[in-house]
């Protein structure tokens, strides 16, 4: 017995282990409430930064998930917003056209622009109404803003519209304030030229030019544009007059075709 204890005392590592076991047994024998209190106190000190890191990582994961969801919702709302903006514009256009329809005396056929021909000298629009709606060649085509052009070819369901910005298009026009007559034609660029305006005319910049009704195609009083340049040319009997068209030809989406007789 004495020999065993003597050998045991010589094995320092075993003594260490037994010491550790003794401390552990004391800890094991503690009541659970005491263990919990000690655990909470020591964990609060040792584990605090790690628990914070753990919470941070959890938050990061949750934030990432919520970010993905919010981005998806944002994209969805952006699409809805774009759709709403488009509908708002369409609504405004249609309201203007409706107002124009009510106040005009001609019979109007509404039409959607379905294609555009962008040849530089002869631009044209294709509209989605044709002979089946009573459209014929040389029917005036207008919007609420003013004259767009006239039909030059008609099929059963579509029609080709020659724009004012076509070299071959001519309209008899009149200055609303001075009642000066002239011929509107396009000579390139963004403006129209009003020819055959005598130098004696009092036509001035800012005057409104409308169709005169002469020529037999366009009814009188349809808006063409506003004078932006009017000067006498030296040695000529006529003025140089440039008109800014009221219609933005490149952004027309809906038009009316004027049919003769209500």
């Amino acid at each position: 017995m004495f020999g065993f204890i003597s050998n045991l005392l010589k094995n320092v590592n075993l003594l260490y282990f037994l010491g550790v076991c003794a401390v552990s047994i004391i800890l094991i024998l503690l009541p659970l409430s005491a263990k919990t209190t000690i655990g909470a106190l020591v964990s609060g000190f040792f584990y605090y930064p790690l628990i914070e890191l753990d919470h941070f990582l959890l938050d990061l994961t949750a934030t990432k998930k919520s970010n993905i969801e919010l981005n998806r919702q944002l994209a969805e709302k952006a699409m809805q917003l774009a759709e709403c903006a488009e509908m708002r514009h369409e609504n405004a256009r249609l309201r203007r056209m409706l107002d124009f329809d009510i106040h005009t005396k001609q019979r109007l056929v509404p039409a959607k622009v379905i294609a555009a021909r962008s040849m530089p000298d002869a631009p044209a629009l294709i509209i989605g109404v044709g002979a089946d709606k009573g459209i014929k060649v040389n029917n005036p085509v207008v919007t609420a803003e003013g004259i767009v052009g006239k039909t030059i070819a008609v099929s059963s369901r579509t029609s080709t519209v020659q724009l004012l910005t076509d070299h071959n298009c001519r309209i008899s026009a009149i200055d609303q304030s001075t009642r000066t007559l002239g011929i509107i034609r396009w000579k390139g660029g963004k403006l129209l030229e009003m020819g055959d305006v005598p130098i004696e005319s009092q036509l001035a910049v800012g005057d409104t030019i409308v169709s005169s009704g002469l020529g037999g195609i366009f009814p009188a009083g349809l808006m063409i544009g506003t004078v932006v340049y009017a000067k006498n040319r030296s040695g000529s009997l006529f003025k140089d007059v440039l008109v800014r068209p009221a219609v933005k030809f490149w952004s027309v989406e809906e038009v009316f075709v004027i049919l003769y007789g209500k």
Binding site: F17, S24, V42, S43
Partner: protein
């Protein structure tokens, strides 16, 4: 100088094991199996230092693990100290220089540790209701061994790895 190195090793081992236990372990559960980083670090210390250091380290590590799970306070420290002592004592007799022997030792230790843990739970000594599932125990031992291979490999080749990033 050697003592100072061992102290640094012990402190960094404790920090890494605790960080892994709190932050990584709950997120890396595979089929119910969990890797036991405190056990891996304890075995590494047991393999590289004296039995006395291993016992103290195992005890301290067990104590810290126990503080996080108060029901196991005391048991975890005695189990880890026992594993550390066993490995440290066997190391010199079996000459565990080969990496494969060390890994085998790690697997055996992980398995024995898990089995002891569940034996204690089964006899109601842990004051916790841990259901014993053999397959999960085996998987946990394998998972711990894989983690040990990574950690041991990293420690063995740390200079080479450090040079790669310089």
């Amino acid at each position: 100088m050697a003592n100072r190195f061992i102290n640094i090793q012990i402190v960094s081992g404790i920090i890494v094991a605790l960080a892994f236990n709190i932050v990584v372990m709950p997120r890396t559960v595979i089929l119910g199996a969990v890797a036991d980083m405190p056990l891996v670090v304890t075995i590494w210390i047991a393999l590289t230092s004296t039995p006395r250091t291993a016992i103290i380290f195992g005890f301290l590590m067990g104590l810290l693990v126990g503080f996080a799970r108060p029901a196991e306070l005391g048991w975890s420290s005695v189990l880890l100290a026992l594993v550390a002592y066993g490995i440290a004592a066997l190391k010199d007799r079996l000459v565990m220089e080969s990496m494969w022997l060390r890994i085998a030792g790690l697997f055996a230790a992980a398995l024995i540790y898990r089995l002891l843990y569940f034996a204690l739970a089964r006899y109601g000594l842990l004051e916790t209701n841990s259901a014993f599932v053999m397959i999960t125990t085996l998987l946990s031992a394998v998972y711990t061994t894989v983690l040990g291979i990574i950690v041991f490999g990293f420690i063995k080749h740390r200079r080479m790895i450090r040079d790669l990033f310089q």
